[in-house]
Symmetry: D2
Subunit: 119 residues, 4 copies
């Protein structure tokens, strides 16, 4: 049974192939395209306080959804062209992080969190 992520990936690949855009989708170019989309998300929050960033109007929420979608599409394309299984890679990384940041040592402190994150 194919799931919704597989369907999305197939749809994105078809979209790219119909336009003959694979030729522009090198890992280098896609990494650039993805960070541009990530920056469009950052732009929505740059003058907000931390608190304001939780309170999104419906219009803003829709725009944020578009930026997330664009970032996700390029992320899936990079995974596609490099042959990386994104779900497996994320699961493996969480395993690593769980060992790197044991819950009992890092719980709840900003200072500790930052110190651990920066290692």
């Amino acid at each position: 049974m194919s799931d919704s992520l597989d369907e999305l990936k197939a749809r994105i690949n078809a979209f790219v192939e119909e336009r003959d855009w694979q030729q522009f989708h090198s890992p280098k170019n896609l990494a650039m395209a993805m960070i541009v989309e990530a920056a469009e998300l950052v732009e929505h929050f740059q003058w907000n306080t931390t608190e304001e960033s939780y309170q999104l109007t419906p219009e803003k929420l829709e725009q944020v959804g578009h930026e997330l979608a664009d970032t996700f599409v390029y992320l899936l394309r990079i995974a596609e062209v490099t042959g990386i299984d994104l779900i497996a890679a994320a699961n493996a990384k969480i395993e690593l992080n769980a060992r790197k940041y044991p819950a009992e040592k890092v719980r709840g402190s900003n200072a500790k969190y930052t110190a651990y994150q920066e290692q």
Copy 2:
């Protein structure tokens, strides 16, 4: 039947809650964290030619997988805290893009591609 993406999201949320890190995961902070991970991906390719970026050693490929994973984890967290359904948002965005870039008009030309992308 839950799929692998739902399982991954549940796992990430549990990871964050066990560490009491929700308090740091505002949309603003998560957008910053995500672009930092996206930049770590960019760093892998910055001195490569376009061609070289396709030819990744196993070691490099593993590192690229880690950066993709980190970006994905933060993307899923942003979707979580903003209540956005990432799969639905991506499908909606592809619909929009399909109308914005009709295949017959943009096929294969770098010049056309760039011009369309920049609109």
Copy 3:
């Protein structure tokens, strides 16, 4: 009389030439390198509140100085290879912004500021 910025530019150019690194310094590659450095700056502040980001320890301040320096060096390199006069470009942009955001219309309001910035 040459000023300190001209001296810095000459020094950076000599550094690059002594290493025969001009060949890697295309506008495309340098733009990637610069955003990677900008992200290293973002990383310092990603889990801070807005208020905390003003309170930097001497150690953190030194690190922030390194990231600013790296970003500046690549910015100057991009200006060099594209033949753009950075000071002149910045002065011209401020003129444009002064017309785009008249002081009497945008003064002090976050809402107004954001709305103007997003146009």
Copy 4:
């Protein structure tokens, strides 16, 4: 004798104060704003080959100049609010880099360059 960089900094500070925008210019927010501008530069080159990125039309060159200017303005603002002397920081960083990447060891090789850069 004041130089052109000092004049530019004074002009930017006056621009911000006339609009009462200092309140939004925390290091955290400015780091976000700067990376957004850096990404607008990246966007200009994302689908270019390395070679194409050298060949800018006058129109594109003007746009690139705007992005460089915007990045520079935020860089100067971050230096201002953190009290960092950007020229001094850049000179100090070049000293560090000169020791880290001795010319005779790293000259001209992409492989070596990348390996050294990644340390």
